[in-house]
Amino acid sequence: MGPSIVIVDDHPAIVAGVRAWCARAEPEIRVLASGPRTEVALDEPAADAVVFDLQLTPGAPAFGDLTRLVDAGRRVVVYSQHADSDTALRCLELGAATYLTKAEGPEHLIPALRAAVQDRPYTPPVLGGAMAADPGPDRPVLSEREREVLLAWFESDSKQLVAERFHLSVKTVDTYIGRVRIKYADAGRPATTKAALVARALQDGLIDLAGL
């Protein structure tokens, strides 16, 4: 049986769209519940992941609700109309599994959900761009190569093009992108979701203990 999710979004068109993408996914992703309030996700502990709209009410992004979900041990895939870098990185800092803008469609949302369910990193291009352009002094330190690969991923939305440009294999490109995500998981506020991500990355050999 495929993974199951809950959709928290106040926009019926978005809920309908995500439901359709999940139904068409192979294997299917089951949508257990959906609604405009965070309680929908808190009341459905069996769901493997939560698609979370950051803009539930007009005004400030719902960082508090995101924190509540993360503290309840939920794997949260933020699906937001905010496209600015600070919002994206703030969500990671709070313990979201990954962050997609609503300009990113099923080609990234479905893989992001699958990765989240397995506690594996998934960095869609726009999030990769945010990490590459992130100058914050308290942020993880990226190597020059990691930054270039992330920027290329942001620009091209194609791991094949990135691999071609830097004469790497697609798998190595994946490793670079995944490693940066783990660096971000290892920084800031602790959360069980972050710990799971790091533990899984160790198991998968994406990072080693010396790299932490």
Binding site: G59, A83, D84, T101, R147, F154, E155, E164
Partner: protein, 371 residues
């Protein structure tokens, strides 16, 4: 003494306290000149050495005068407060020690009542603990002097207590008034600030709402005719042209939903114009921007745009356009499903690269100033 973590007085506080400070300064100077000076002149012989009294008086006047200058300049004693207050205490102790023990707390005792006022001046705009401690220490010291010189008769002690309590309570009352004024000022400043915050939030909400309205209007113009046509059967979903139109509308809607942008500027605006042209040709364009960007020299901006234009021109059905600022560099990337021919440009600090894979062409132009 006042703690180091003491908050700096707010602007309103300075203005409100000013009237009170002027009054305090006048009181102090009147006491020093009108009361202290005649008494000192009459009783200068009570000091050993004789110049100790006038010197002490002069230094007290000096401190009061410096304070008057600070008041005029809307400033407070700040870090100098504690050292000067301690210096005044030392001065008060020394003049009292130089005084004939029989005259302690008597008319020639310069500083007896006035040091308290000087400390009130010094502690304007600060917490009062230090003031209270200094006054208490000073009075206890004088009491000690009286006892040491054997002046423990009831009349002397009662007279001392009456003047000490009388003068000190005046001083503390004025200082407390200042403290109350500060509290009022701070609350008023906070209220004004929170009102300003609320007004800003309202303004932001209004702008966001207007922006959203504008986008919904565009949505109605772009998507509604298409949806209506499909709904009433005049447009066939299988028709490639209808599909193209739908894809274009979808791309526009996505851009609208995404509220793009870390920083809108001229380069982003020009790029949007290029995207618009491509969309008119039926190309579905996805656009993202990231990072903070410096302002480019015009020729560099022109080179980046020329490269993006050439790449977009080659697009057949789909393109991805990105604009990024990374570590001082500005990067424009265009990925298309066509074979782009990028013009060779010789512009300082601008480099371009083209990568092809799996039927996609990625053209990147990067401005990276060497410095």
């Amino acid at each position: 003494m006042s703690g180091p973590a003491e908050e700096a007085p707010c602007d309103l506080e300075v203005r409100l306290l000013r009237g009170l400070r002027i009054a305090q300064t006048v009181i102090t100077l009147v006491i020093l000149v009108g009361l202290g000076l005649p008494n000192l002149l009459a009783g200068a012989s009570a000091f050993h050495p004789a110049w100790a009294g006038p010197l002490g008086w002069g230094l007290f006047v000096l401190v009061a005068a410096v304070d008057a200058v600070l008041v005029a300049r809307h400033r407070f004693w700040g870090r100098a407060r504690v050292p000067v207050a301690l210096g005044v205490l030392a001065l008060a102790v020394l003049t009292a020690l130089a005084l004939d023990p029989a005259q302690v707390a008597g008319p020639p005792h310069v500083g007896y009542g006035v040091v308290g006022w000087i400390w009130v001046l010094l502690f304007a705009g600060a917490r009062l603990r230090g003031l209270v401690v200094l006054i208490a220490v000073h009075l206890l010291f004088l009491l000690g002097l009286l006892v040491a010189s054997g002046r423990t008769d009831r009349i002397t002690l009662v007279a001392f207590a009456v003047t000490a309590v009388g003068v000190t309570s005046f001083q503390l009352a004025v200082a407390l008034a200042g403290s109350a004024l500060r509290r009022v000022a701070r609350q008023a400043a906070e209220a004004a600030e929170s009102e300003a915050r609320a007004r800003t939030a309202e303004e932001v909400a209004r702008t966001v709402h207007a922006d959203r309205e504008a986008r919904y209007a565009e949505l109605r113009a772009v998507a509604l005719p298409l949806l209506q046509g499909i709904g009433d059967g005049t447009l066939a979903p299988a028709d490639p042209e209808v599909q193209q139109a739908a894809a274009r509308a979808a791309a526009r809607l996505r851009r609208m939903f995404a509220e793009e942008g870390d920083a809108g500027d001229a380069l982003a605006g020009e790029l949007a114009a290029l995207i618009d042209i491509a969309e008119r040709r039926g190309v579905v364009v996805r656009y993202s921007e990231r990072g903070r960007r410096p302002v480019l020299p015009p020729d560099a901006a022109g080179a980046l745009l020329a490269s993006a234009e050439a790449a977009l021109h080659a697009a057949r059905a789909a393109a991805r356009v990105t604009l990024a600022g990374v570590g001082g560099a500005v990067v424009v990337g265009v990925v298309t499903d066509g074979a782009a021919r990028v013009p060779v440009q010789d512009v300082a600090d601008v480099g371009t690269s083209t990568v092809e894979a799996g039927g996609a062409t990625w053209v990147e132009a990067r401005w990276a100033p060497r410095s």
